[in-house]
């Protein structure tokens, strides 16, 4: 179980839950000298905008509060400030800029958390907890899900995040049921089998990683079952209902390609020609269901028929924007 850190709320706004990337600056912060106010970055490189910024304390006199005020007016302020030493400068900065201010007993606690790979945290009710991030990559066959997911994994790891890649169905035994033919399947039993695998996978594998504060990148998640089994004629409401205990991802990305293009990409890897038209029809229906989920705001669409580098770039931008992270410096 991940470590939880107690904080004391010093000034306003900290009663609501605040999540964001953790930035730890082990020294006294002199805002005028240490922050480049035009970019919202520390001179050391990290961006403070939208982050949960933990510093030893504040130093410097009159000007510090004005720098934060100015950042806040431009929408570049940190989401929260955590200090070990409370003083009139940190308090004035936070109050005139409307930034929640919290006190921590020892900043080294957060430095340790940071060096263990925790980057994303939430602050609520005077507690700071590492918070995992769930990213689901969805799309029809041949859309490039695995390539995108593994690329994202690389980007996160280069930024020092604890990050894992996983996929569904997860258990070999689930796959064996599909492949052996020992159990005669119907669309309903096929759906339930997939969903059973998913619940177990989520509870025993994914949740544990999230609790540790990891970024979990899922190659297919609950939307796949809705799209595919929905395309096979099952009730979409029912498919949603049986999966309602699975949380929504923090970022759900739908890689959109024309099914014919998807199948063309897949044919290289041995799709049977005989089932081509059958597959195509099913993928077209699956795509419709996916696009419907996009329209409902459950997934964000990325045009995956573009050149691969463009697709990867779009996905990284999207994840950065959605989570308020700073990843471009970690792009391979």
């Amino acid at each position: 179980m991940a470590s939880e850190v107690s904080l004391q709320v010093i000034a306003g706004g900290a009663e609501r839950k605040i999540c964001g990337e953790l930035v730890v600056y082990g020294k006294l912060l002199s805002p005028l000298g240490d922050i480049d106010a035009s970019t919202g970055r520390l001179r050391s490189g990290s961006r403070v905008s939208g982050k949960i910024v933990a510093v030893k304390g504040f130093t410097g006199s009159t000007v510090g509060p004005y720098v934060l005020y100015s950042l806040a007016k431009r929408g570049l302020a940190p989401r929260a400030l955590v200090v070990e030493e409370v003083d009139v400068n940190s308090v004035t900065s936070a109050v005139i800029s409307g930034i929640p201010l919290l006190k921590i007993e020892k900043l080294t606690t957060l430095e340790k958390l940071y060096s263990s790979g925790t980057r994303y945290v939430c602050v609520e009710n005077g507690k700071l907890k590492p918070r995992g991030v769930l990213i689901a990559i969805e799309g029809v066959d041949g859309a490039g899900k695995t390539t995108v997911a593994k690329y994202l994994l690389e980007v996160f790891r280069r930024c020092g995040f604890r990050a894992v890649y996983t996929y569904e169905p997860y258990y070999d035994s689930t796959r064996a049921v599909f492949e052996s033919g020992a159990m005669k399947l119907t669309p309903e039993s096929e759906a339930l089998l997939m969903i059973a695998d998913r619940y177990s996978h989520f509870n025993w594998v994914v949740r544990e990683e999230l609790d540790l504060g990891s970024v979990v990148i899922l190659d297919r998640y609950k939307h796949s079952t809705i799209a595919y089994q929905g395309a096979a004629g099952l009730s979409i409401d029912w498919l949603r209902e049986v999966q309602k205990y699975l949380p929504e991802p923090d970022v759900g990305i739908y890689l959109d390609v024309d099914p014919e293009e998807g199948l063309r990409r897949k044919s290289g890897s041995g799709t049977r020609a005989l089932t081509y038209f059958e597959d195509l029809e099913r993928l077209r229906r699956a795509r419709e269901v996916y696009l419907n989920m996009v329209a409902r705001g459950e997934l964000i669409q990325v045009n995956a028929s573009l050149e691969l580098p463009r697709v990867l770039e779009k996905v990284v931008d999207l994840v950065e924007e959605k989570l308020g992270l700073d990843l471009e410096k970690c792009v391979p």
Partner: protein
């Protein structure tokens, strides 16, 4: 909170007052103050454009634009010097923005621009103030027996608007006991008093000391001592024996005793290296009328570089008249917060220990401490 304060907070006295009250209450709560206290005089720091830049300018103009007006007597720190040196001036943009800061504060009701507001309006014993200039805070608490937190620029500004500040440690009166009693050997001029101030500030850190040996000196010695003390110590007060009202009630029997002698000061008066464009500076903190009366008649000629004398705004003009080439008397101005490097100054020779610390930091220019007499001789002789 009093009924009047409730009304201020609710917006009955306008949006600006309500906003200032709201911020001050939050700041006070965050700092653990149990209440607000009414003040009679606010003094704002952070006026030099070089210090607060576009961010401070923006904050101050935002205040003005919400129709904020000072409701108590309010003074502000001096602006950056706008004078030229050897014919070279600051850029039009800098001057224009500096004047916007001054103009905004003036429109809100600032009475004077000076770092020595006690020469403009001298508070009496026990008066509650909200002063932000550190040297003035120390002077008010340690010499005048008034009480003020070491406010920040923004809190003093808010205090000027709503006539309140948070009830911080300073407002509770003198501490019952101190950790240090420091005795200083007789300083011969204000610069030596300042040099002692730097040493004492370094020695005591956050702790409020009792200082012995300064009671027989004119107030401007104390001013230099305290200004320098405040550059190294974040304390709001230094208890000066036989000066600070109420000093006798402070328990000193368990305090560590330290004696400083004139030999401890020698290291601060380093040899002046080669200096082709010196700026001689007197007036950090701003000179009193008495000091100005002493200094000006002694300046007959400025042989090399320039001599700047900085004073509060509103000092009688007959004294401030400039009759000597190279002498500039600069009311409402501060040379320490100006980028002197941009003016081509290559070293500053001053009698101010505070300036000795700040000039290299803020302007990146070498600074040397000399006694006031010596400085005046150097000005005339060019050596």
């Amino acid at each position: 909170m009093s009924r009047e304060e409730e009304r201020m907070l609710s917006g009955e006295l306008g949006e600006a007052v309500a906003r200032a009250m709201e911020l001050l209450v939050k700041i006070g709560e965050a700092l653990g103050a149990e209440r607000l206290v009414e003040i009679t005089h606010a003094h704002i720091s952070g006026v030099s454009y070089f210090n607060i830049g576009d961010f401070g300018l923006e904050f101050i103009e935002d205040m003005l634009n919400t129709r904020a007006r000072f409701s108590v007597f309010t003074t502000a720190n001096p602006h950056s010097v706008l004078a030229s040196y050897g014919g070279r001036g600051l850029s039009t943009e800098v001057c224009e923005k500096q004047l916007r800061i001054v103009s905004a504060l003036r429109k809100m009701g600032a009475r004077s621009f000076t770092c020595a507001p006690y020469y403009v309006r001298k508070p009496s014993i026990g008066e509650h103030l909200a002063w932000a200039e550190s040297s003035a805070v120390l002077y008010a608490n340690s010499v005048l027996g008034a009480v003020t937190n070491r406010e920040t620029g923004p809190t003093a500004l808010l205090s000027g608007v709503c006539g309140r500040t948070y009830f911080g440690e300073a407002h509770r009166g003198l501490p019952a006991e101190v950790e240090f009693v420091i005795e200083v050997e007789k300083p011969e001029d204000p610069s030596e008093a300042g040099a002692y101030g730097l040493l004492v500030g370094e020695l005591v850190g956050r702790s409020v000391p009792v200082v012995r040996g300064l009671s027989q000196y004119p107030e401007y010695f104390l001013k230099e001592f305290l200004a320098a003390f405040a550059t190294h110590s974040p304390a709001h007060l230094a208890i000066l024996e036989d000066v600070t009202p109420g000093f006798g009630g402070v328990e000193t029997s368990r305090a560590e005793r330290i004696s400083l002698t004139k030999s401890d000061l020698l290291k601060m008066y380093s040899d002046i290296g080669s200096c082709s464009s010196p700026l001689y500076l007197i007036g950090c903190p701003h000179l009193s009328l008495e000091e100005l009366d002493y200094v000006l008649p002694r300046v007959k000629d400025v042989k090399k570089g320039e001599l700047w004398v900085t004073i509060g705004e509103g000092v009688p003009q007959h004294l401030a008249a400039e009759r000597v080439r190279g002498l500039k008397v600069l009311p409402g101005s501060c040379a320490v917060t100006a980028r002197l490097d941009l003016l081509g100054v290559d070293c500053v020779i001053t009698d101010s220990a505070k300036a000795l610390v700040y000039i290299p930091k803020l302007a990146g220019v070498r600074a040397y401490l000399v006694r006031r007499e010596v400085l005046l001789e150097m000005v005339s002789s060019g050596e």
